[in-house]
Every structure is written in structure tokens, then in C-alpha cells.
């Protein structure tokens, strides 16, 4: 059972790693987009899937990271990848400041406020806030990233940068799921009163989920800025937040394989069906509606964690 799982993971990783060798620049770039959305959706999954906090403004944190990278890179010429932790930090800090006053809100109320945060950030960027965001035109001339002096330019090269980052994200988030903090987020989602009554600082862990998720979205923003070399407010619209949210819900809230599959389907499918031009969004919408009726828990729903227990047959009792 465990071996089969490892084979599936290693196999899909190998296929993915070899893909750019057989694909042209266009399709490699599609995979790059999928990779960035996968990281974004994984970060949103911490907030929505694990902690159960509805966040429809995730693009705001993505934007803060991207603009941090763009501004610091174009004004101070700091290498863009060196700014990765800085982008994570500014995004996380922004999430902390923005979420602190609203953390007690529940469900749909929180959702509305996060939509507000997303719009405020987007409009602030358009209005050239502090005179540093370049208004509607955004910021251009972000330098190419380099790893140990090796400059990354082509989609193939970006593919490996993006997917290595996505791979590290998957590993770290998987470890987080099997930890005290990961479990605490789930308790929060399941029953807040019971969690608090069992000694879990619910307000603290809500902030942990939001700040961690935002920090990761900020780092994804950094990579996006490096890839595009030009960013503008149009890339961080409400629609982006909706896409990330849809990936998490369609793939399977709280499930890493589910979210990865969701990213492939939601970002990849419209490209595959591009020749159907106008009908593709209709099909896409119909598929989403069907999903929500027939498989509400997502395509690959989260499964209960298994622990190594003393004095129990491995595998445990099937439920």
C-alpha cells in the first residue's frame, strides 16, 4: 500500500520532470502557470482546506509578494530570488495586520471581508499608492532571476525553478499536516468551540493559517514577477482569487494531491480545449456545477491521517 503510493508519486514526478524535453515553449509555459497556481492553491489550502476559513481575497497576498519583489528589484537591484524570503515576510506581515481585527469573524462574514481586502489592494495598486506601484501600467523591467550565476530565461528553465519550488512546498506542507500545528488547524475547521475547550488557542491558529498561507502566496508572487518581468494590477483581480478557491474546492479541500490535480484541471483544461474557444468556459462551468452536486468533497478528498501506533495491526480498522 505504502509502496504503491511511493511509486505513483515518483512516477508522476518523473513524468513531470521530463515533460519540458518533449514540449514546446508554449506548453511548457502552460505547465509553468499550473505550477504557480499549484503553489498558490496549496497556500490557500492551508487557510480554506485545513483551517476552514473562507478566503476569497488570496490574490491580495499574491500581489503584495509580487510587488515587493518588483519594487525592491527595480529600485535597489536586489536579485529577485534573493527577495523570496522578503516577499514571504511582507505578505505574511500584511496578512497579520489585515486579519488581526477580523479574526473573530466566521464563515461568510469572513469571506466578504477577504473579498474587500482583495479589492482594496487591487485598487490601491491602480491608484499608485505611495507613488511606488506604477498605477495601471504596473512595474516593468524586473530582472531575470539567477541561480548561482546561472541566469534563468527560457520557459524550460523557469519550469524547473517553479516546480522545484512547488515540490519543496508539497514536502513542507505534507510534514506540516502531520504535526501539532497541522492538526490544530483541522480542529479549528471541525469545531471551534470544542477546539478552544480542548486547550487550543483558536485565535492564534487562525492567524497562523492566514499568515503562513499569505507568506507562501507572497513567495509565489515573487516567482511570478521574476517570470513575467512585468506586473500590473490586472494580474491580481478578484478572478484570480476565485480560480485559486475553485482549485482547492474542486481538487479536494485539505488534500495535497487533490489540490495539485485541481491546478492541472482548472489551469490546464482551458488550454487543452482552446480550439472550442467560446464553449470552453461553458463546459468548464457545467463541470464545476456537476462536481458540486455529485462530489462535494472534491476529486481527491482528504483522507484521515494514519499514525504509527504501538500494539495495533498496521492499516488499522477500515471505516
Amino acid at each position: 500500500m505504502k509502496n504503491r503510493k511511493l511509486v505513483v508519486i515518483a512516477g508522476s514526478a518523473a513524468v513531470l520532470a521530463a515533460a519540458p524535453l518533449f514540449l514546446d515553449a508554449y506548453w511548457t509555459d502552460v505547465l509553468n502557470n499550473i505550477g504557480i497556481y499549484a503553489v498558490l492553491a496549496l497556500s490557500l489550502n492551508l487557510i480554506v482546506g485545513h483551517a476552514g476559513l473562507f478566503n476569497l481575497g488570496h490574490a491580495a497576498f499574491y500581489a503584495v509578494g509580487a510587488y515587493t519583489a518588483a519594487i525592491l528589484n527595480t529600485t535597489y537591484h536586489i536579485p529577485v530570488l534573493a527577495l523570496l524570503p522578503v516577499c514571504g515576510f511582507t505578505s505574511g506581515l500584511f496578512a497579520l495586520l489585515a486579519a488581526r481585527p477580523i479574526i473573530h469573524l466566521r464563515g461568510d462574514y469572513l469571506c466578504i471581508v477577504t473579498i474587500g481586502i482583495g479589492e482594496i489592494v487591487r485598487i490601491a495598486l491602480i491608484n499608485n499608492i505611495f507613488g511606488i506601484t506604477g498605477g495601471d501600467n504596473g512595474i516593468f523591467g524586473i530582472s531575470r532571476p539567477s541561480v548561482f550565476g546561472y541566469v534563468i530565461r527560457s520557459p524550460q528553465q523557469f519550469f524547473y525553478l517553479i516546480w522545484i519550488f512547488a515540490g519543496i512546498t508539497v514536502i513542507l506542507f505534507h510534514l506540516l499536516e502531520y504535526s501539532r500545528v497541522g492538526r490544530a488547524l483541522n480542529y479549528l475547521r471541525e469545531d471551534e468551540v470544542a477546539a478552544e475547550g480542548s486547550g487550543i488557542d483558536t485565535a492564534h491558529y487562525k492567524l497562523v493559517a492566514l499568515v503562513l498561507g499569505a507568506a507562501w502566496a507572497g513567495m509565489a508572487g515573487n516567482i511570478y514577477a521574476a517570470k513575467m518581468s512585468i506586473i500590473s494590477p490586472g494580474s491580481f483581480s478578484f478572478w484570480e482569487s476565485v480560480l485559486m478557491f475553485a482549485i482547492v474546492i474542486l481538487g479536494g479541500a485539505g488534500s495535497i494531491p487533490g489540490v495539485l490535480l485541481g491546478a492541472f484541471l482548472i489551469i490546464g483544461m482551458p488550454e487543452v480545449f482552446r480550439q472550442f474557444a467560446s464553449a470552453r468556459m461553458l463546459i468548464f462551468g457545467a463541470a464545476m456545477v456537476a462536481m458540486m452536486i455529485f462530489r462535494t468533497q472534491g476529486l481527491l478528498p482528504a483522507r484521515p491521517r494514519k499514525y504509527r501506533l504501538a500494539g495495533l495491526p498496521s492499516g488499522g480498522v477500515e471505516t
Binding site: L172, L175, L176, Y178, S179, R180, V181, G182, R183, A184, N186, Y187, E190, D191, V193, A194, A195, E196, G197, S198, G199, I200, D201, T202, V208, L212, P304, R305, K306, Y307, R308, L309, A310, G311, L312, G316, V317, T319
Partner: protein
């Protein structure tokens, strides 16, 4: 010294006085029952002790320290654990993970060590798993560790709540109608479980409508009616108290 002391605690909901000027002490190491007719304010008292509500007047002391300014989870850290009248488990998580929730406040791993699983974090996890399994074994759910909580029977869900509360390492365990929905056999097992818990030097306070259970396990009983204490004493005194019989137990013949 008394473990828990309520002094003149009052709680109003709008115009309704749910608890009015309630005072009592709970000595260390005993089992106390809180009884009264429906709507007497018993669960409100539990919610005041655990910090879900804050009293309008009066003060609550635990080990001589006022609890008023502490949030619920801080009170759990001090050693006050509870179960809920309406079962509140983490329904979609495994039985084991429900108990691990109780262990949470005794663990230290922060965000960073949770990300990279440092050796100390792994050791701590192993110890927590052991503690959780012990708690499950104590309530008799050891063989169900990997089931999903919502698939347990009603009685077992109540036991799981007790296991989760015990995993927090409490000095005071507050049980809100632990026998609710249990059959006779399960109730008998519950009685022996409560006595086992007392043997672990945990003070127990419980609300229960099953008078046989209350009279059997409780050493001290507080009776409430309309938010006020109408009697307090040993089970035998309570049984004979005229006001209690009138308010709650019905006529003597019936009891």
C-alpha cells in the same frame, strides 16, 4: 484548600437571570454532582467555569487564582477540562486525532519545527501518541483509534469526549451529562470509569439527570433551581431535603 471556588457568581441573558449569586466550593479530589430541573442554569455554570461566558458579577477561583481574565484555552492549560452536553467531537477526524487535540496544550512544537520535523518534535509526537492511546485505552476505545469519530456509537462518542478531556492532563474534569443517551450497561461502565478517574487524583464535577448515577458516584451534591442554589450536601442529606424533593425529585413515594 478548595480546588474551585465560585463566589457570588451572577449571569444574566437579557432580562433572564440564568445564574444568580451562586457560591460553592469544590474540594480537591472529590466527585461533585450539580443537579436541578431543566433550565436551572447548570450548563451555564459550567460555561462560566470554563470561560465560554463571563460572569456579570462575582468571581471564580481555581487553586486560589481568579479565572476571570483567562480565555478558555488558558483555563485548560491550568487544568480545567470539560465535555459537552451536546457532543462536540471533531467529526471527520480519527478517534486518535480527537484525543491528540487534548494533548495539544501539553506539546510545544511551533510552526518551524512542525515544518521540518526536528528530532525533538518527533520525540514529542511519539510521546503524545502514547498518551493519547493510554487515554483511549482507559475509556475502552483503544481498538477504535483509527476509526472516524462520527462512525462511533452515541455512547462511545461520549467516552471519546472524556478521553479527549483527560488527555489535557486536568486537575478538574467537568462532565456535562456524561450518561445522556447511554443504555444501562454503558452507564454502569461509565460509573466505574468515573471512579477510575478519581483514582487518578482528578477532581470530577458532573451534571447528570440519572439520579441513580449521581447518588452512587457523587460525594457532594449542589442542587440548583432558577439559577440559585437551593441545597448542598452529601447524597443522603440531599435525598432528605424537603426543598429538593419538591423542586426536583418529585414526591417521596415516587423516588
Amino acid at each position: 484548600m478548595s480546588l474551585l471556588q465560585l463566589s457570588n457568581v451572577t449571569k444574566n441573558f437579557g432580562g433572564l437571570s440564568a445564574v444568580g449569586g451562586l457560591s460553592f466550593q469544590l474540594d480537591d479530589g472529590i466527585i461533585m454532582g450539580l443537579i436541578g430541573p431543566n433550565g436551572a442554569g447548570k450548563t451555564t455554570v459550567f460555561n462560566l467555569i470554563t470561560g465560554i461566558y463571563r460572569p456579570d458579577e462575582g468571581d471564580i477561583f481555581f487553586n486560589g487564582r481568579s479565572l476571570l481574565r483567562l480565555s478558555t484555552h488558558r483555563r485548560v492549560v491550568l487544568g480545567i477540562a470539560r465535555t459537552f452536553q451536546t457532543i462536540r467531537l471533531f467529526q471527520n477526524l480519527s478517534v486518535l486525532e480527537n484525543v491528540l487535540a487534548g494533548c495539544h496544550c501539553r506539546l510545544k512544537a511551533g510552526v518551524l519545527s512542525s515544518f521540518v520535523h526536528l528530532p525533538r518534535q518527533r520525540r514529542e509526537e511519539r510521546e503524545a501518541l502514547k498518551r493519547a492511546q493510554d487515554a483511549l485505552a482507559l475509556v475502552g476505545l483503544g481498538h477504535r483509534a483509527e476509526q472516524v469519530a462520527k462512525n462511533l456509537s452515541y455512547g462511545n462518542q461520549r467516552l471519546l469526549e472524556i478521553a479527549r478531556a483527560l488527555a489535557t492532563g486536568p486537575h478538574l474534569l467537568i462532565l456535562d451529562e456524561p450518561a445522556g443517551g447511554m443504555n444501562e450497561q454503558e452507564t454502569t461502565q461509565l460509573v466505574s470509569l468515573i471512579e477510575k478517574i478519581r483514582g487518578m487524583e482528578v477532581t470530577v464535577m458532573l451534571i447528570e439527570h440519572d439520579m441513580t448515577l449521581v447518588m452512587k458516584v457523587c460525594e457532594r451534591i449542589v442542587v440548583m433551581e432558577y439559577g440559585r442554589k437551593i441545597a448542598e450536601g452529601a447524597p443522603d442529606e440531599i435525598r432528605r431535603d424537603r426543598r429538593v424533593v419538591e423542586a426536583y425529585l418529585g414526591t417521596e413515594e415516587e423516588y
